[in-house]
């Protein structure tokens, strides 16, 4: 007998020089899905886990039940702030990516194309809620008005860095702004978010937790550990999957396997799950509001798959042109979040091309000014060394004897 079984190997939408093909994604029309009750059970969630919550149609018009559900949350004023957040995020990424190229810092990660998700989600959270972000969720910080000088200081690892140079750039931490200290190890924080949410329920403090993970890292054990424990204890946690189609050079198929969406993985654990157009700022606001209300109301965990596209390189150490076509981002069927919100606001007469250009210049100027000030405290090309003995602080609450001896050996 001859062996007839054949292995399958996932292939990306494009390779260098090959025309991008996103036909593996079925993109439903905007406005087709109803807004379910926040108490939605897992049995009723299938259309939401398989479909796609979208508000903005191809022309930039807000359509359907989720647009209505937004109500005042979708006011022109709020949307203009959202657009400004995204422009700010883009300006920060742009300036810091350049700074990395100039050797002023060792490393940087951009979130280009994914700005709507964090910028929008953060605007729907309340004080005391806690995100457990990945390295690519800095848009959450922008959406919670985190001081720019701290954000930039962290990337420069100088005396303005709230983390004293201990962490790789972009691995921010701020309890006050609901941003848990980011690990460089993928997946681990997903289950920590479940623990935080369990504590919130046990301590009855009304807060919720939000776990964040990339599509690639859903392959990790801790992704499944988090879904499992969330389904067992039902704490107020939102488990976010940012599906940006890539994990460095590996296409999403390596974590996605078969035809199921990431949201559908949640259903298997009995967790109501929804899939959302992550490049549609209005859909982000609406779905976030719905999910946060649900979690805070005590109706248990929820999983959100955000469909988006990693338009930039994985990191400053990556060159995507060696593994995917340069035309992929342009071919991405859900477009660009900034362009889509801009079009919507212009269509509503709440924005104009001139105001847009002006806003872009303003945020860039703001970032540049703060950046300059932060750079005056030192960069990798103009280093102002911090005391080496600081390495040994905060390893423990109190410095034990062996670290004291090592501090002496350091000579400081």
């Amino acid at each position: 007998m001859t062996q007839t079984a054949k292995l399958s190997f996932p292939h990306p939408p494009s390779r260098p020089g090959v025309t991008p093909d996103f036909s593996y994604l079925k993109i439903p029309k905007a406005g087709t899905l109803a807004v379910p009750d926040v108490k939605m059970s897992v049995e009723d969630a299938a259309p939401y886990a398989h479909g796609l919550i979208r508000v903005l149609d191809g022309k930039g018009k807000a359509v359907g039940p989720w647009a209505k559900y937004l109500g005042d949350t979708g006011s022109a004023e709020i949307l203009r702030r959202g657009l400004r957040d995204m422009l700010m995020m883009r300006a920060i990424d742009k300036r810091l990516q350049i700074a990395q190229r100039q050797g002023k810092t060792s490393f940087y990660i951009q979130c280009t194309g994914e700005e709507a998700i964090g910028c929008g989600f953060a605007r729907m959270l309340s004080k005391g809620d806690m995100n457990f972000p990945t390295y690519r969720q800095q848009s959450l910080l922008v959406g919670s008005d985190y001081p720019l000088e701290l954000m930039i200081g962290q990337v420069y690892s100088n005396s303005m860095d709230p983390l004293k140079g201990r962490q790789l750039p972009v691995l921010h931490s701020s309890r006050e702004y609901g941003y848990f200290t980011v690990s460089g190890n993928l997946g681990t924080q997903y289950v920590q978010a479940v623990g935080w949410a369990m504590a919130a329920a046990l301590m009855k403090d009304d807060g919720i937790a939000a776990g964040w993970i990339g599509d690639g890292a859903t392959a990790s054990n801790d992704f499944h550990g988090a879904l499992l424990t969330a389904s067992v204890y039902k704490p107020p946690v939102i488990l976010n999957v940012v599906n940006n189609q890539w994990a460095i050079s590996s296409c999403t198929g390596f974590a996605g396997g078969g035809k199921a969406t990431y949201a559908e993985r949640g259903l298997g654990y009995g967790i109501p799950s929804i899939r959302v157009d992550g490049n549609d700022y209005l859909a982000v606001l609406a779905a976030s509001k719905w999910a946060i209300d649900r979690a805070r109301g005590g109706d248990g965990p929820i999983l959100i798959e955000w469909l988006t596209y990693r338009a930039a390189a994985h990191s400053s150490s990556d060159d995507p042109s060696v593994y995917r076509s340069k035309r992929e981002a342009a071919a991405w069927p859900l477009g660009d979040p900034v362009e889509r919100l801009k079009t919507h606001l212009i269509l509503k007469d709440a924005w104009s091309q001139e105001r847009h250009v002006q806003a872009e210049a303003e945020v860039l100027d703001e970032v540049r000014t703060v950046q300059k000030e932060v750079e005056s405290h030192g960069t990798f090309v103009d280093p102002r060394p911090m005391p080496p003995a600081d390495i040994l602080r905060d390893v423990y609450a109190e410095m034990p004897e062996h670290l004291r001896r090592q501090r002496q050996q350091m000579g400081s």
Partner: protein
Amino acid sequence: MPSMTMIEAIRSAMDIMLERDNRTVIYGEDVGYFGGVFRCTAGLQEKYGQERVFDTPINESAIVGMAIGMAAHGMRPCVEMQFADYMFPAFDQISQEAARIRHRSNGDFTCPIVIRMPTGGGIFGGQTHSQSPEALFTHVAGLKVVQPSNPYDAKGLLISAMEDTDPVIFLEPKRLYNGPFGGDHSGQAIGWKQHPKGKAPAGHYRVPLGKANISRPGNDVTVLAYGTMVHVAEAAVKACGIDAEIIDLRTLLPLDLETIVTSVKKTGRCVVLHEATRTSGFGAELIAEVQEACFYHLEAPIVRVTGWDAPYPHAQEWDYFPGPERVTKALQQTLEA
């Protein structure tokens, strides 16, 4: 003072902390309703309710990961790994997360958790119920690592661990749960009742972390041991009549180097014991520190007695276990050198 087994002492510490500090939660596999496979949490769920003491899915990484999230939010989780052998799926959460949260967030977040786990052999558990992974933990900056050798210390150390603001690995030598064990596996099992350290106050007290205990004062050779090997050392010394000073380390990290160095400078000789495999074991660390601090006081090479560098066997457990004969031989060798 009431007499207690090691199990009762550990349970009493958790009972007291559940009572005193409402931030305390206790959980793990079979820990809740049933009270743990070694019974360390028996009765606690009944007393404090399932929100304080509960069962978990069989996912060690999630058990520790949840504890990290809870602790960061202000709770005090004390969790159980059913056996130290099963901590490996959680090692990522322990070594990369729990141990570093304070440092990497510049103190913005902290991780006051205790991870209890039964360790060591002597119960015919084979290679997956007998391991001693302490050196894997002592190699991680940011952790504290504790291993008691008797009920009095176990209770006082566990209370200190649960009150500590840093993550503590609490290794419980399972062979000592029900009685002291000097390595004579053919003899009658003895309980903790007759042992002086088998008595402990019923209420709250602390045994400080980072402080060793001289369990037998002596002049001729210093023996460094922890957990079960403290009792093996005592049995060996009793049998051969050598005037050894036995130091029960109690906390491996941070190490009480001062007590060790004072003793070795006095005796000029040192024997290091552990049940774990030899190569890169915690004994290597002890010897390195002792030679650096006491080189000019040493009159003989420092000797290690450890488990062999092989997986812990099932049927040949007593050929593997570093029993009193091997310890006696090492003591004599050191004295004759």
